[in-house]
Symmetry: C2
Subunit: 309 residues, 2 copies
């Protein structure tokens, strides 16, 4: 489909079509074409129908560029540098700041691909700290470090995937193990389309479960309309949305406002996560949560307000 299996080519590795490159780099087709037009890179070969065929080195350089752009560089400044220069740029980023030793140990294990002991270390931290502290300290710190290291190219994608899977396992396990069914308020938890990070969501669920709220977790990427429909179906009091730093602040705020317009006034909307960390003023009718403590206060407030009846 997107490569010429069996066809003998002058350059055997020029075999990625534009759709494959979009998938593997996260750069849209439009962006790929406009870069070629403006900056002259990438300059893929063409097949007999004039369709682009990217080579493996091009694809790798594009992935490097993507990383650098995500960490703040501008395309025009770096797109025509050599791969070795780009690699150097990546590694010259500021190293991680002071990380507590327990975190350091876990990171070591992850980088050594020592799956079993990494899992054990997580589990032990959870046991030692309890769910609330585990989430608000250990997982938060790990997330932060992994995000940094990913931008700096120190961890591979698959390391990050593995990390995510294991933290999910631990958190989901801990959530199930919470005593009691959870009572008021009922909170619907999800993210909007485009936001794929599940860990933030699970962290919120863990804290809410620990505080005895009833969670309805819908996973990631629920379209706004479906959230609207889910609210009456599950009779929830609060909709909580998570936005990682992968989304822009404006996109997050627009999504929140759109949802606010669709939900009844009695339903609260809470938003939190990296994308909203620097937001000063919340849109009308939205509660911004900048920390897990914020969330616990908000929960407390809700319960006080709805106690008398």
């Amino acid at each position: 489909m997107h490569n010429n299996l069996g066809a003998i080519e002058a350059t055997a590795d020029a075999c990625y079509n534009i759709a494959a490159v979009e998938r593997d780099t996260g750069l849209s087709k439009d962006t790929l074409r406009v870069w070629e037009r403006r900056y002259g890179f990438p300059k893929p070969l063409r097949d007999r129908h004039d369709e682009r065929l990217y080579s493996l080195p091009e694809l790798e350089k594009l992935r490097l560029l993507r990383l650098l752009i995500d960490s703040g560089h501008r395309p025009g400044k770096i797109i025509n540098r050599s791969v070795s220069e780009l690699t150097q740029l990546l590694s010259s980023r500021a190293p991680a700041q002071n990380t507590p030793p327990e975190i350091q140990v876990m990171i070591e294990l992850l980088l050594r691909h020592d799956v079993e002991n990494f899992r054990n270390a997580l589990q032990q931290a959870l046991m030692k700290q309890g769910l609330l502290r585990f989430v608000s300290e250990t997982v938060t710190a790990l997330n932060h470090w992994i995000g940094e290291a990913w931008l700096a190219g120190r961890v591979a994608i698959f390391d990050e995937h593995l990390y995510s899977e294991h933290v999910q396992n631990i958190l989901r396990n801990a959530i199930i193990a919470q005593p009691g069914r959870g009572s008021a308020p009922r909170v619907l938890l999800t993210s909007l389309p485009g936001e794929k990070h599940r860990i933030g969501l699970l962290m919120v669920e863990a804290v809410l479960a620990a505080e005895g709220a009833a969670c309805v977790a819908l996973g990631t990427e629920t379209p706004v309309i479906d959230i609207k429909n889910a609210v009456p179906a599950y009779e929830v009091d609060i909709v909580a949305l998570s936005f990682s730093s992968a989304v822009t602040q404006s996109a997050a705020l627009a999504g929140l406002s759109e949802l606010r317009g669709l939900l009844p006034d009695g339903t609260e909307i809470w938003g939190g996560g990296g994308a909203l960390a620097r937001t000063r003023k919340a849109p009308e009718g939205i509660l911004l949560l900048r920390s897990f403590d914020d969330m616990r206060y908000a929960l407390e407030r809700w319960r006080v307000e709805h106690a008398r009846r």
Copy 2:
């Protein structure tokens, strides 16, 4: 961003731009534009810069069309029918075949949005049947039913999301609870970009864990190159990929072949899932698994072949 908050419009609901519609319907921008050109639907309003503004009814009809096309209808035949006709088409699909009573009970609970009891029913089934039978019977049947019902529009997206989350919780919990660390072979588990369904992957992981294999689970959507890099890093013997029916058979086979070309001969590649169910002949060097029993045999075979050393 994608809606005109505050701006007063003749039709207040014409506020979705093409990117928002792409996200919420899964239809590509190219497809949306070409439908408009060829069939005259959708016919969005334009903003002052001639950019498309889709209305809510259009968006809803597009989602309906998407459902029908996924279940086998052709765009040209149905695109100009009315919403009520389309709804009728959906509901006139073949009803679910004979479902065992326990499954029926769970479905009832899910449709009634009775989160707690649904969870309990799953947990009880797991206890009663053990992990292997729970996966190969109950979860398989539920998946099948939910997939059907989703196509037929009998369950909402949020129901499906909730289902997925709960089954994930149960399976991940069960996997962690497996005794022992797992020994040879080491199996890397993931899916290719575009394949977002996690449950199939977790089912495989559960079965492998129950059989005592060591799993390295990377979650969904790992680019092929990253799989290639992960194989030596985690020293895996086998790469197992899952393809749900949401992917086309040809895309699945192309992905498998591409991966085969990148991995050393000593590393086995296993593929399974709905997309490959009807595939007769596996590509060279790929092992197709059509059932969980197939997988257990394959595991057995691998262990026999690698026993002497």
